[in-house]
């Protein structure tokens, strides 16, 4: 084979300009993503380093020092059994963050796999899977979670099962939708024309192009899951006491709302800040992947 020369330059500088300038795609150029990551980093670090940040045991009761106001010893005061609120806040954050993040992993994987299969193969597989999705979606999120945890009995295991049973649906929907769009792109046809197997096409050609949407969604999903855990904790269906949990803290503090508002407010604010950081990350990621939208 001999080379044929052509007048076009090999890598047109202009083409690179039409595409995204690489620099602008770096994460730290995205203010939302950067601030979200920093915020979340601080929260995670604080939760992980809880024993270093506070000398108090979050479970240890001290009835002699109950319902103290904020002071130098107890930054956020103590609750009705004399436990340090700041310590409980840090440890509670630790519990809820851990469960929230772990609980999202399994639905993510299940939803991604079922969504890819439904989207790529279509036909009756798709119909059956999507009707299944419809059925799960027919129940309000909180109703199903509460009912499931009720029948399974309170505790972490039940939370994981309930979140998985309910949560995979969103991922399946997102991935299926994205695959349906990506499938129509000619590069998938080209891969089929290249004689590649379906598994390979899904794994190497489709998923890398669509998984980002699921990752973006998982950020708000973690927020929703943490909210659900906190809500369950509030109703006494979550992590059993005495393990500190933000939901049960809000519940405990509610009785002293008029006199000790900080007992209810701060655990809730902690959740809001976690939610904010994850939402910022999600938005930033979305901007990174599809600039100009969101």
């Amino acid at each position: 084979m001999s080379a044929i020369s052509f007048p076009e330059p090999v890598l047109a500088a202009e083409a690179a300009e039409h595409a995204q300038p690489r620099g602008a795609r770096r994460w730290y150029r995205q203010p939302a993503l950067a601030s979200g990551l920093i915020l979340l980093g601080i929260i995670v670090l604080a939760a992980a380093a809880a024993p270093l940040l506070t000398p108090y045991n979050p479970i240890h009761q001290n009835l002699g020092a109950s319902l103290l106001g904020p002071s130098a010893q107890h930054w956020l005061g103590t609750d009705q059994t004399g436990r340090d609120t700041f310590a409980r806040l840090l440890y509670g954050l630790r519990t809820d963050l851990r469960i929230g993040i772990i609980a999202v992993l399994l639905p993510f994987c299940i939803g991604t796999v079922t969504g890819s299969i439904a989207g790529y193969f279509g036909g009756s597989v798709d119909t059956v899977l999507m009707r299944l999705v419809d059925i799960v979606v027919a129940f309000p999120f909180y109703v199903l979670i509460i009912a499931l945890v009720f029948v399974l009995g309170p505790g972490q295991r039940s939370i994981y099962i309930a979140i998985t049973l309910v949560g995979w649906v969103s991922y399946a929907r997102i991935i299926r939708g994205e695959i349906l769009v990506a499938k129509r792109q000619d590069y998938v046809l080209a891969a089929r024309g290249g004689g590649l197997s379906s598994v390979r096409i899904i794994r190497r050609h489709l998923l890398p192009n669509v998984i980002s949407q699921a990752i973006i969604y998982s950020m708000s999903d973690i927020v929703q899951t943490i909210l659900a855990i906190v809500t369950l904790g509030y109703f006494g269906l979550g992590v059993p006491p005495p393990t500190p949990d933000l939901g049960s803290m809000i519940n405990d503090g509610q009785n002293f709302l008029t006199t000790h508002w900080q007992l209810t407010t701060f655990p809730g604010l902690a959740v809001v800040v976690v939610g904010l950081s994850l939402s910022l990350i999600g938005d930033g990621l979305a901007d990174l992947i599809r600039p100009g939208q969101s």
């Binding site: 084979m1 044929i4 076009e8 000619d186 590069y187």
Partner: protein, 386 residues
């Protein structure tokens, strides 16, 4: 050979195949016989309510043969089924009826990896046909490994050779598609198709998504590759100018059927099907704008009306709803592809293709007959070099 009334929607007769193959005198490399592809549309109930077929017959009984080394163009407007036919020939769309033969052997519905390799495609939009998450090297490597084209130690060298062949350098290997311009992407797509050393290259509108000045480079590349590699080319296009530049033979498609096949020059100088005549007359011409400029006093359009929906294919001849010379017979009898007695390579599916049409005078004279005046370019006679 006069028109036999075929079943509306049924596959055409296989007899036409001989003529097509006869062009080169050898058995065709790839042939389609009575190929039909349909899509299910909406619900059966909706179709019944609106009194139409539920199956959209995109390709509706096509006979076509491709000889080794030739460049055949498949021409038609959007909705004619040319892209669907291309996908079916490339094994990317299953065929509902008919058979596709490769080198005399019937290809099964699910092609083996080895069969799949033999017919490769280049797609229209180079922005959607390259996986944005794979480097050029990565996508070539994957194909070469799966098909064991070269020993794994030579993958890199072979990839570089391919890229050089299409006018790109080895520095394209680690690049992602987004780093290329449209024309360069199309070169990558061509390199990818050639990587598997196919017998046939199917190019579906390879330049219509590109800017005019870039189109020329890709057309030249395809033409040079043909000469260099002895490639068999099936070019799908709506642009007759592109076709004339590149192909030996042209097949014109209309509403899922091939209505005329002829060697390129014959088709352009002496079109037989009224649709082909209209199509040729409708092309705006740069040359001598004075003679082709539309004026208020001008006659009607080259082809009137819209192409009917493939859900409501007219009975009889499918072109009759827009045909200026349609007669009673056209409403009842579906004309098959028939050969011109004088030139067997020329076939047309019209009752009046090779006889004196009752009102042939009503048809505008084929515009190609007008002698070209001055324009930057080379007279047509010098065109074929081989």
């Amino acid at each position: 050979m006069t028109a036999a009334a075929g079943q509306p929607g049924g596959p055409g007769t296989g007899a036409a195949l001989d003529g097509a193959a006869g062009v080169t005198g050898t058995a065709p490399l790839l042939s389609a016989a009575g190929v039909a592809v349909s899509f299910a549309v909406g619900s059966a109930l909706a179709a019944r309510v609106r009194q139409q077929q539920r199956l959209l017959r995109a390709v509706d009984g096509v006979d076509l043969a491709l000889a080794r080394g030739e460049a055949l163009a498949l021409v038609g407007e959007s909705g004619s089924g040319k892209s669907t036919l291309a996908l079916a020939l490339a094994g990317l769309r299953s065929v509902d009826q008919g058979e596709i033969r490769f080198d005399g052997r019937v290809l099964p519905t699910r092609r083996s990896r080895a069969d799949q390799r033999r017919i490769q495609m280049v797609f229209q939009d180079p922005y959607s046909s390259l996986n944005p998450r794979l480097t050029v090297g990565g996508m070539l490597r994957e194909l070469l490994r799966v098909h064991h084209i070269v020993p794994s130690g030579e993958v890199e060298a072979y990839s570089t050779e391919l890229l050089t062949l299409v006018g790109l350098g080895p520095d394209a290997l680690p690049a992602y598609p987004r780093q290329f311009s449209g024309g360069q992407r199309q070169r990558v797509a061509i390199a990818r198709a050639l990587a598997l050393r196919p017998d046939i290259l199917v190019a579906d509108e390879p330049v219509s998504a590109l800017d005019v000045s870039v189109q020329a480079t890709i057309l030249n590349l395809l033409r040079d590759l043909r000469g260099e590699l002895g490639l068999t080319l099936l070019l799908i296009s709506h642009n007759l100018a592109v076709v004339r530049h590149l192909c030996d033979r042209v097949a014109v498609m209309y509403l899922g059927r091939i209505v005329e096949v002829a060697p390129t020059e014959q088709l352009f100088s002496n079109p037989r099907h009224p649709y082909t005549k209209g199509l040729l007359a409708a092309i705006p011409r740069l040359a001598d704008s004075a003679s082709s400029q539309i004026t208020a006093a001008d006659s009607g359009p080259a082809v009137a009306g819209d192409m009917p929906s493939a859900l409501r294919i007219p009975a009889g001849c499918r072109f009759r709803t827009r045909c200026p010379i349609a007669q009673e017979i056209c409403e009842t009898a579906d004309p098959a592809l028939t050969q011109d007695i004088g030139a067997p390579a020329h076939q047309a599916a019209c009752h009046f293709a090779f006889t004196a049409a009752p009102s042939a005078a009503a048809l505008a004279a084929p515009a190609a007959a007008a002698p070209p005046a001055v324009a930057p370019g080379v007279p047509r006679q010098q065109q074929r070099k081989d």
